[in-house]
Symmetry: C2
Subunit: 191 residues, 2 copies
C-alpha cells in the first residue's frame, strides 16, 4: 500500500511558523547546495495533499508553477468548490476517504505539504505513515504548532536521525504497525 | 559563570506528560542498565530548581530521599512559605533573581527538574543555558506541553544528538551566546 509522508521543518519548541505565517526562521539553515534531502524525498512522490491556505501562500510566494506544473497530482483541501486546474484538484469532501482511496490505488508515495490543520486532521485518523521532521535550532516562542492538542496516541518506530552543519537535525520515524498489518519487508517486496 | 541546564524527556509532539500527570509513556524506553546519561549529567549538578507540584509528585511517587538527601541544594519554587528541610529550600520570591544569584556564585551546574511552569518562567527570562531533550518515539496527542506559547525567540547552538536502541533520540543544544559574552572555550578554561 502507498504511504503518506510528512516532510516538514519545525523549531525545537514545535512551531512551523511564527505568528502571521512568518517563515523567516528557516533562513537560519539556508545553505547553498543543501536541500536537506528534499529532492531525494520528492523523487518518490507522485501525489501531494495540502491545505488551501498553504496552497495560496505558496502560490503567492513562489508562483503557481510550484504545484501546477503537471508533474504530480495535487489535492488542495478546501471548503470552497473550485474547478480543477490541470492535475490540481480542489477537494471539498472527506479527507480520510480521499487518503484511503489514494492509498488503495497504485502509485508512488503521497506527500502532505501542510498546513497544520490538514496535518492534524490526518493525525486524528492515524493516516500518516512516515514522519521526516527537521528540527531547526531555535525556540520561536509563539506561532503555529505542528502538533495540536486533541489527537489520539500513536507509537512510532524510530528509523534514523541525520545532522547537518547548520545545526538542523532531521528525525525520521514510521508509524508503528499494528499486529494485523504485514511487516515493512513484505510490503516493499510486493510493491 | 555556572550554567542552568534542562534534562528532560518529551514525546515527539512535545508533551512531557499525558493529562493527569500520566508519565507511563516513559516505560516505552525503560531498559535495564540504560539511564540515557542521567547519572553522568547529575554528577556535574550541585543545585536543583523545581516547581512545587513536581516536587510533591516525585516525593509521593519515589519518596522524599530523592531530593532531601543532603547531596544538593534543592530550591522548590512555591507560592506558600514553608520552613527549609536540610538543603531543601522552599522559595517564594522572584525566580529570575534566584537564578541570577545562583549563577553568580561558585559551584557546579544548576539543574531545572521541571515542571513546565518553572521551565517556561525560566525561558521567558532567557535563563536556561543548556538543553538536553530526550525525544520519545511516540505522539501522545494531548497533555502538558514542554514549551508553552508566549516566550521570546531564542536561537540555539546545536551540540550533538545521541540515538539509543529504544528509539529515544537525545538532542543537545546550548543557548547561543550574544556578542558581549565570552565564547565557551574561554569560559571552560576559567572553570
Amino acid at each position: 500500500m502507498r504511504k503518506l509522508s510528512l516532510f516538514i521543518a519545525t523549531s525545537l519548541d514545535g512551531y512551523i511558523a511564527k505568528p502571521n505565517d512568518d517563515l523567516s526562521f528557516l533562513k537560519l539553515v539556508e545553505n547553498e547546495g543543501e536541500d536537506y534531502g528534499y529532492a531525494e524525498f520528492m523523487a518518490n512522490i507522485d501525489t501531494i495533499i495540502l491545505g488551501r491556505k498553504t496552497y495560496d501562500y505558496v502560490i503567492k510566494q513562489i508562483g503557481s508553477s510550484h504545484y501546477d506544473n503537471g508533474q504530480r497530482d495535487v489535492y488542495v483541501i478546501t471548503r470552497t468548490e473550485r474547478p480543477s486546474a490541470g492535475r490540481t484538484i480542489f477537494y471539498t469532501r472527506n479527507i480520510s476517504q480521499l487518503v484511503n482511496r489514494l492509498k488503495s490505488e497504485k502509485g508512488k508515495s503521497i506527500y502532505c505539504d501542510g498546513g497544520a490543520e490538514v496535518i492534524n486532521e490526518l493525525l486524528k485518523h492515524d493516516l500518516i505513515d512516515e514522519f521526516i521532521i527537521s528540527v531547526i535550532p531555535i525556540l520561536l516562542g509563539d506561532g503555529t504548532r505542528l502538533f495540536k492538542d486533541g489527537r489520539p496516541e500513536q507509537t512510532l518506530e524510530f528509523i534514523t536521525v541525520k545532522t547537518f552543519e547548520s545545526g538542523l537535525t532531521q528525525l525520521h520515524y514510521k508509524r508503528k504497525k499494528t499486529n494485523n498489518e504485514p511487516p515493512t519487508l513484505y510490503m516493499s517486496k510486493k510493491g
